[in-house]
Amino acid sequence: MAVESIGSQQHPKIAPWNDPVIRGWVFQVVVVGLVGLLAWYLVSNTVENLARQKIASGYAYLSHEAGFEIGDSMISYSPADTYARAILVGMLNTLKVAVLGIILSTILGTLIGIGRLSPNWLLAKICESYVEAFRNVPLLLWLFLFYKIISEAFPGPRQAISFLGSIFLSNRGLYFPVPAANPVHAWMGLGLLVAIAAAFAVHRWGRKRQEATGEPFPSIWTGAGLIVGVPLLIWLAGGAPHQMSWPALRGFNFVGGTVIQPEFTALLLGLVVYTSAFIAEIVRSGILALNKGQSEAAAALGLSRAQAMRLVLLPQALRLIVPPMTSQYLNITKNSSLAIAIGYPDLVASVNVTINQTGQAIENIVIIMVAYLSVSLSISAFMNWYNKRIALRER
């Protein structure tokens, strides 16, 4: 700044309309002003038109009774609950399928991507066909196909395929027994969270010690032991409640146990196979971008192929993989709104019904936009943080 002002003092005085600094400011003010005017025009025009047509506005409806039923809910819900709760149920359903979709498609995509680089010709070709088949057909068609397969190919509940007399597969979904509700479960969940945190801490400590002394610590096995052991101990301490809820055919459907519904299965399956094809290519390109010397050096050190992949190649490839991976994670989240085509009750479905019952399209569309925006921005923020953490640190 100081350099610039000295520089401009040395120039002969110029008219303000020829001064690039002033010009720059003027143009920016004008552009901001125009955008503001346009927004003001659109908003005021809309408000005026809504008022003129006597269409209700505002968010008061959120506390009114929703009146419609939702087929799949993670929290208790009935038609007597409010619109706000109905929308929350949809939001949780969206998050459920998005989180599971991200985890599963990352695992599957990484395996396929590595498989495509395998020296085994058959494995490489199978992985290649997988990628080409799944990424070149629109996701919507995959969803329809999976949904049709599930609802047409599986028998009705009265002819359900049964495993061991307690797991039932039919076109109503997969019913299986779960432990009957017990307060101990909440404590087990809490214990699990603590154990996961502890496992991370142990892993960090182990790595520090290895860097300092060269002595490896079996932190993976310790962590696994913690994660399994702590909830198990709490369960034993809580009197080992082993009451189960068994599914049984009563009237039209199975009662008891829990169910994975066909709509959810079809959506998750579609999202995972479609996105994992893209992730496989990202992983493959990340590994191929590494210098060939890396794998040769790893081999020269006597590392096996698996060790070389895990300890040398993947950590370096990760730096190239993470940024495009963020886009895929965002795609999964947003593509989950295709749920509406096969009847999975996600956020869009809940809000669409709400729009129709209340007629307040604008308010509800704002809710959808804010919801997807906050989920997407959270994913971006997390991935950016992770990207920064694993970035090459030059010393």
């Binding site: 939702i70 007597a80 049709k148 009750p345 479905a349 129709n356």
Partner: protein, 343 residues
């Protein structure tokens, strides 16, 4: 530069502000355009369906054709926009269509908070249930625990929840927006029950059962759980257009009541009955009062037919649906169809 830009900005704003999006009179817009844009269902046999040549037929479609005949003297000046139950209100509110003839139930919320006006009732319907015969269900009261296929965003969805709540029963909904998909889910056995207005159930059973299943494999349960008066809808704000849509329906009913049909209408022009003379515009005045041609009823009946003809042709004995007139008989024959008089 600075001043000029600002002036330009305000000038632009002024242009935007004067070009207000609200058109004022829908009727003027329709007349200037030269055709009527009518929102119809995406495909319900007997009510609105397009054949292989893209020609629309059905009871709902006849309403659009009759309004077009009133406005233009030609029943074919209609552009049909198929709308799902979720799209239809937004499409009407935003001006994408001029009117809905979309198997839409008239309710208080829709009449007020949605900014719509319902005109005359074209079909008295009620919500029912259809189940596969092999389930052996005889009454809707036996449906506790059933999985129910239902289209979203309709009064159907709310009636369903209300009915099960009132009878202390539970159910699991499967909710898919496209009517073709929801039917496919029902016929594949994903649901035990399909629920919609009973007219829609009969239409589905008559026309949409996929082979090798037969229409006889399905039964419509006797319970009717709601009142569903189906009526065309227009936007708030243009009473004259709403009047024309309403009186077009009344004209079709009046024509039936006085024995005027597409076959007899030319003869009836010579009738000495003062009511018929008034209806057909032989004695002028009615058309002028409504703001359409004096021969408006003649055009409707000649090109579309009276209400009874339209009913029998589309959903009654002349169709595959074979729905009984029931509540839709004229008031003179024990039904509810009672038109305000044209005088």
């Amino acid at each position: 530069m600075h001043k000029a830009s600002l002036a330009a900005a305000f000038g632009l704003a002024a242009v935007f502000a004067s070009g207000n999006a609200w058109a004022g009179k829908d009727l003027d817009a329709i007349k200037a355009r030269g055709n009527l844009i009518c929102g119809v269902p995406t495909g319900i046999a007997g009510f609105a369906s397009a054949d292989s040549q893209g020609k629309w037929t059905g009871l709902d479609v006849d309403v659009c054709r009759a309004v077009s005949a009133s406005l233009f003297g030609d029943s074919e000046k209609v552009k049909y926009v198929p709308l799902t139950s979720q799209q239809r209100f937004t499409a009407l509110q935003s001006g994408e269509v001029d009117m809905l003839s979309n198997n839409t139930t008239a309710t208080l919320t829709r009449d007020t908070a949605l900014g719509l006006d319902f005109t005359a009732i074209t079909y008295y319907d009620g919500q029912g249930f259809m189940v596969p015969k092999k389930l052996g269900v005889k009454s809707a009261k036996e449906l506790n625990g059933a999985t129910v296929c239902v289209a979203p965003g309709t009064t159907t969805e709310l009636n369903l929840a209300d009915y099960f709540r009132a009878n202390k029963m539970s159910f699991k909904p499967v909710v898919i927006e496209k009517v073709e998909e929801i039917r496919a889910a029902f016929f594949s056995g994903r649901c035990d029950v399909y629920t919609t207005d009973s007219s829609g159930l009969y239409a589905t059973r008559a026309a949409n059962v996929p082979a090798p299943l037969k229409p006889d494999d399905f039964v419509v349960l006797p319970e009717i759980i709601s009142k569903e008066p189906l009526a065309p809808a227009v936007r708030h704000g243009d009473q004259q257009f709403a009047d024309i849509v309403r009186w077009t329906q009344y004209a079709m009913l009046e024509a039936e009541e006085y024995g005027i049909s597409s076959k007899t209408v030319d003869e009836m022009l010579k009738s000495e009955n003062p009511t018929i003379k008034r209806i057909l515009g032989v004695t002028p005045g009615m058309g002028k009062a409504l703001g359409v041609d004096e021969k408006w009823v003649y055009n409707i009946v000649k090109q579309v037919g009276n209400y009874g003809e339209s009913f029998e042709r589309n959903v009654g004995s002349g169709s595959i649906l074979k729905i009984d007139r029931g509540l839709n008989r004229l008031w003179t024959k024990g039904g509810l169809q009672y038109a305000e008089p044209i005088r």
